[in-house]
């Protein structure tokens, strides 16, 4: 009888191999390419490759006047378009020491918070879809449409608004604005309960997100991870609290802070932020004072020579605008500190020694917007 020889079959390859996730991959939410080193299905390291939609916005800004720059900032983080616009406006207003009318401050703060809600809605929709819950995508987009309708009514466009100008607004809000916003808040307070029922308490979702991709507070600070992702790790970085602008020093809201720093708490932090945003809007919407929608500005805006820095809390974290002016009508150098770029730098650290499926969950919870990374 012939002897049977057993040759062991390796269930997992021990050698590392590399795969490309992206640039065309649904879970990277845009043209981001991650080169992932894998051992079996364990992520050993990953290298992000950016630049697929690098447009050189900082270079373009050096040739544009300040009102023109506003139109370029829309195209960085298109989900926080209003907040980016607001940053440039505040930079110019602070440099020229222009006091904007009270009415403008109210409208800007309300619209900024609506922007934050619609951004988080789209994040919730796509995050749910990344983890296999296709219903989330339809629910999220359905409710986001309501906010886009409000924007369309007042600003004239749905995505790239450029509604703010240095000194005020492009034009006054639509007469229906207050009613539409109040209707939306009433509507969304009911619908956000569905969000929780569908995903927050879902056992499959909790198993995939709880304790996965932990980022400690020290690492969050060192990597500069800000926004809800940083606050889920206990890094108190809400610009609205620490360096208030607009009317944030006059309204009552909580900075959402957790200490766990895992994917689940990054999720909960954003969900809670939507509640806080609605709270801010409710405090302001009935009290919009009458008055001008813009302060008087000169036709040509020139900033005095010097350096200016403006911090904003965009939907994804701390947006910084650093401007060096030589006294001309165009900036000498302008730099946008994009929150996504710093958040991306932590991805390698967070996802090491986890499964590749967890990488999708972590990437979703960090909420990347690729045009903001590449600029």
């Amino acid at each position: 009888m012939k002897e049977v020889i057993h040759t062991p079959v390796k269930a997992i390859e021990e050698e590392e191999y590399h795969i490309n996730m992206g640039p065309q991959h649904p879970s990277t939410h845009g043209v981001l390419r991650l080169v992932v080193s894998l051992q079996g299905e364990i992520v050993k390291s990953l290298k992000p490759h950016c630049g697929y939609i690098h447009r050189g916005i900082e270079k373009m800004c050096e040739k544009d006047t300040y009102p023109q720059i506003i139109h370029l900032t829309d195209r960085m983080d298109y989900l926080s378009a209003h907040i980016n616009n607001h940053g440039v406006c505040l930079l110019v207003e602070d440099a020229l020491q222009i006091e904007v009318p009270e009415r403008v401050k109210y409208i800007r703060t309300i619209i900024d918070e609506l922007t934050r809600i619609q951004s988080h809605q789209l994040w919730w929709a796509s995050f749910g879809m990344d983890l296999g819950g296709l219903t989330c995508f339809f629910y999220g987009l359905r409710d986001r449409e309501k906010i886009l309708d409000i924007f369309e009514e007042s600003c004239g466009s749905r995505l790239l608004h450029s509604y703010y100008t240095p000194g005020g607004l492009m034009w006054d809000i639509h007469p229906n604005f207050q009613k539409s916003v109040k209707d939306f808040i009433k509507y969304f307070r009911k619908k956000i309960k569905d969000y929780d029922r569908l995903l927050s308490g879902n056992i499959i979702f909790m198993n995939r997100s709880k304790g996965v991709g932990i980022l400690s507070k020290e690492d969050a600070i060192s990597y500069g991870v800000t926004g809800p992702s940083g606050r889920a790790s206990g890094f108190s970085c809400d610009v609205r609290k620490h360096h208030p602008y607009g009317l944030y020093d006059k309204v009552d809201f909580k900075e959402i802070l957790f200490n766990e720093g895992d994917t689940y708490h990054r999720y909960i932090a954003r969900m809670d932020e939507m509640h806080e945003s609605m709270k801010i809007i409710e405090q302001l919407i009935d009290n919009i004072p009458a008055g001008d929608f813009s302060a008087k500005m000169k036709a040509v805006i020139k900033l005095p020579a010097g350096e200016y820095y403006q911090r904003m809390e965009s939907a994804r974290g701390e947006l910084g605008i650093y401007c060096i002016s030589d006294g001309n009508k165009t900036p000498f150098r302008i730099k946008f500190r994009s929150p996504n770029f710093s958040n991306l730098s932590a991805l390698d650290h967070i996802s090491r020694d986890l499964k590749i499926a967890d990488l999708v969950a972590i990437g979703g919870s960090l909420d990347f917007v690729i045009p903001d990374i590449d600029r």
Binding site: C50, G51, H54, G56, E58, K59, E218, D219, I221, S222, Y223, G224, F235, S236, C237, H242, G306, E307, Y308, Y309, R311, E318, G320, Y322, I324, R333, K335, R337, F341, S342, L344, S345, A346, H349, D374
Partner: protein, 152 residues
């Protein structure tokens, strides 16, 4: 720590530091050779504790190339700005700070990509946005690109 004390601290660390007028932040030029040791001391010391590098910018000031570090402390809530400059336009280089603040790794790659400033001891200094075969550094003021930049 208030601004006066911070100023004293920086002067005691680097006597050559030059302070600049700025309404928003305390701004100091540091000699390039002392950047790393100053940054490390400011990060490590208990009463300064600058643990958060919130912006890192490369600037071409025409006369010189400059890197600007915006630092703040999450514990004491104070901020400063450190600047280093070099007049060498052919082979500009500074020490990396990415062993002190991890976020600097990507931000320094961006500065290298767009301004051609090298960072000594950087673990992975490659272009980050542009193609590896790209010639020149777009954010330099003397950069010329006849194909992609339309002059009016």
């Amino acid at each position: 720590m208030d601004l006066e004390k911070l100023k004293e601290r920086i002067t005691s660390l680097v006597p050559e530091a030059e302070f600049e007028e700025n309404k928003q932040f305390l701004t100091a030029f540091i000699p390039a050779g002392k950047l790393h040791s100053t940054a490390r001391a400011l990060r490590a010391s208990e009463d300064t504790a600058f643990d958060y590098l919130f912006c890192l910018t490369g600037v071409d000031m025409i006369k010189y190339l400059m890197v600007v570090y915006h630092l703040s402390s999450t514990k004491h809530k104070h901020s400063i700005v450190l600047k280093v400059k070099t007049e060498d336009r052919v082979n500009p280089a500074f020490d990396t700070v990415c062993d002190i603040w991890r976020t600097a790794e990507f931000l320094e790659r961006e500065v290298y990509d767009l301004l051609g400033i090298k960072f000594n001891n950087h673990p992975d200094l490659r272009r980050i946005f542009l193609d590896e075969n790209w010639k020149g550094y777009p954010l330099r003021k003397d950069y010329k690109d006849e194909v992609n930049i339309v002059e009016l």
